[in-house]
């Protein structure tokens, strides 16, 4: 048994979205404490939304995050349309899937190529990696740009798109415009994504399978973006409006972001691993084929392999975007009329990092009375801590710098979007 007491401290954890903190205490060969600390301005946006007109909500919530604004727009419009008794369908619904494809491509490629891959290859960052692997980084930029282009064309601009509204869109692209501005880029991106699945699967990956409770949307026909039932591999199967019955949030002293858990079993995991494992059969044939050829199987419980799953989902997003482009006919009008009525609406969509739950209560004039937003990173907090605990205990023999590096990598496995809610992420690993 190890009896030495050591203190390891890292003050700044790079390559994550946003800033927060992490503190790990080790005593001998035991982990005694793991705390992911998030210094979020508590519930800023939820309070900010009160009293605002329901039509403003998609644009306000899109400002929560520069990386996943579509997710915030999609969850909010679906919730508010439900509150108002409106169902958006047909080509407008297809365009919503298309713009979500763009966001997945942008976000996933940024993460797997620029933020996560350096971990596997031993580089401090993508800049160092680019010096040795310029072609990989170049290809990733091309792939990411295809996502930017989708968000730009459908959303009006790449960052904080302005074209999404309750009921549909403000302005619609023509079929010709979509073909002209996206088709060739997406065909090229698709080829790069196929290569990306192969390449990410070739990276050295620790053996670290965990018994997660995966939670994701599941739709009868589609790999999920905006609709479906909330399901888990441990028996959950509920409508989005039942979310708060089965999931709870609690405040822990070390974090101002609320910790989520299932009321029945505790920690759960949302995001690419969960989506993939619960919806493998809904992927496009080529994404399935690429995943299987990469050795993934139809379920993945190793969080380090999330880099491969993100590449598979990027390929799916290219396939799905091309499918939508091929069948698109410009609808008229660009949005359904939505009249406010007093009520509550629930929305949940699959942000790149996992399910993003919104609930709004509005009055008969459409003013927001209260709002609730549960982002994926806060849902994964407890599971991230659990992974760290397990990994640290199994790897106490590692020298401090190596253990610290791999603990940081554990956090990055989740692509935590702390910028949705926080200021600083500092990691300290302490051995007593």
């Amino acid at each position: 048994m190890k009896t030495d007491n050591r203190v390891i401290k890292v003050d700044y954890l790079a390559r994550v979205e946003g800033e927060g903190g992490l503190h790990i205490k080790l005593k001998g060969d035991t982990v005694t404490s793991v705390q992911l600390r998030i210094f979020e301005p508590p519930r800023f946006f939820e309070a900010f939304l009160r009293g605002r007109d329901f039509r403003e909500v998609p644009d306000i919530t899109a400002r929560i995050c520069g990386i996943c604004p579509i997710a915030y727009q999609m969850s909010s419009v679906h919730a508010l349309e439900q509150a108002c008794g409106v169902q958006v369908d047909g080509q407008l619904r297809e365009l919503r899937r298309l713009i979500y494809c763009g966001e997945w491509i942008e976000s996933h490629v940024l993460h797997f190529a620029m933020l996560h891959a350096p971990d596997f290859l031993g580089y401090a960052d993508a800049i160092q990696m680019a010096k040795d692997h310029p072609a990989i980084v170049q290809q990733a930029l091309t792939l990411k740009k295809a996502g930017n282009d989708i968000v730009n064309v459908v959303g009006g601009r790449e960052i904080h798109p302005i074209n999404v509204r309750v009921g549909g869109f403000y302005k619609l692209p023509t079929r010709r415009e979509l073909q002209r501005r996206l088709k060739d880029q997406l065909e090229e991106a698709r080829q790069i994504a196929v290569e990306a699945v192969r390449w990410t699967a070739s990276l050295p990956c620790p053996d670290f399978e965990q018994d997660y409770e995966f939670v994701a949307l599941r739709h009868p026909d589609e790999y999920p973006f905006n609709e479906g039932r909330l399901v888990s591999n441990k028996g959950l199967d509920l409508s989005i409006s039942e979310y708060e019955t089965y999931f709870a949030e609690e405040h822990l002293e070390h974090s101002t972001a609320l910790h989520s858990h299932t009321r029945a079993r505790g920690a759960y995991l949302v995001g690419p691993l969960a989506r993939y494992s619960l919806n493998f059969d809904r992927l496009s044939p080529s994404a399935q084929e690429a995943a299987l050829a990469a050795g993934l199987g139809n379920e993945c419980r190793n969080p380090f392999k999330s880099i491969v799953v993100r590449a598979v989902e990027t390929l799916y997003a290219c396939d799905e975007a091309l499918r939508i482009l091929d069948s698109y006919e410009q609808p008229d009008p660009p949005a359904l009329p939505v009249e406010p009525r007093a009520g509550t609406g629930y929305g949940c969509s699959e942000a790149p990092r996992g399910i993003l739950y919104h609930r709004y209560r509005i009055d008969e004039q459409g003013a927001v009375l209260d709002a609730r937003i549960v982002p994926p990173t806060s849902q994964n907090q407890r599971t991230i801590e659990h992974d760290l605990w397990q990994f640290a205990e199994r790897n106490l023999q590692l020298p401090d710098d190596r253990l610290t590096w791999q603990c940081e990598q554990i956090v990055r496995n989740y692509d935590p979007c702390i910028s949705c809610s926080t200021h600083f992420l500092r990691l300290s690993l302490e051995r007593e």
Binding site: A14, R15, V16, E17, G18, E19, P41, F44, R63, G66, I67, L110, A113, M114, L115, D125, A126, I127, A130, K131, H133, P134, A135, I136, V137, Q138, Q139, A140, L141, T142, K144, K145, N148, E158, I159, H160, Q185, E188, I192, E195, A196, R198, W199, T200, I418, S419, T422, H423
Partner: protein
């Protein structure tokens, strides 16, 4: 990825909106003084009106990686971002990026994993820096959620916008 014979990234080769001089204000208007860069872009745009087609002005908020796309094809690029170095709020820093790397600590204020300093150095590693890239940093005071610039920062945005306008309208190559 990285397959043999792979062609270089498209954004360096065929910009859709080629313009010799591009001004890009970087930042989040919803994070206090982080909105300084977009504020300068807006002021310049108001001055520009319909004139000076060779000068393209934009404001972006988001990961620095988008910068590499945003400046593709431009011969001269001026970036304006908020910084935090401990200097007096409203101080204006200037960096000629062709001659020196950006001080990362100064531009680490972004909440994004891939900020402006990283984007510049990544572009340098990939030989995708514009021929001329000048970065102006406006010293911010507070970056908390909320709209509105500190008075000293707002004054600095006006000063810098005026200075850039005088220089850029005379010559799209000078800044």
């Amino acid at each position: 990825m990285g397959r043999p014979g792979a062609t270089p990234a498209a954004e360096g080769a065929a910009p859709a909106r080629a313009a010799p001089t591009r001004v890009i204000g970087v930042g989040n208007q919803w994070r206090g003084d982080d909105g300084a860069g977009p504020a300068v872009a807006h002021l310049l745009r108001a001055r520009q009106g319909a004139a000076a087609a060779a000068l393209q002005i934009s404001a972006i908020d988001g990961g620095g990686l988008n910068l590499i796309t945003a400046w593709a094809g431009a011969t001269t690029v001026v970036l304006i971002d908020a910084v935090f170095s401990g200097a007096a709020p409203g101080s204006i820093h200037r960096f000629d990026v062709g001659a020196q790397p950006l001080p990362e600590a100064l531009f680490r204020h972004s909440t994004h994993a891939f900020g402006i300093a990283e984007a510049v150095e990544l572009a340098r590693a990939l030989a995708q820096l514009p021929p001329r890239l000048v970065v102006y940093g406006i010293e911010g005071r507070q970056f908390d959620p909320g709209v509105g610039l500190s008075p000293a920062v707002e004054l600095a945005t006006r000063t810098l916008a005026e200075q850039l306008w005088q220089q850029l309208r005379m010559s799209s190559e000078a800044c």
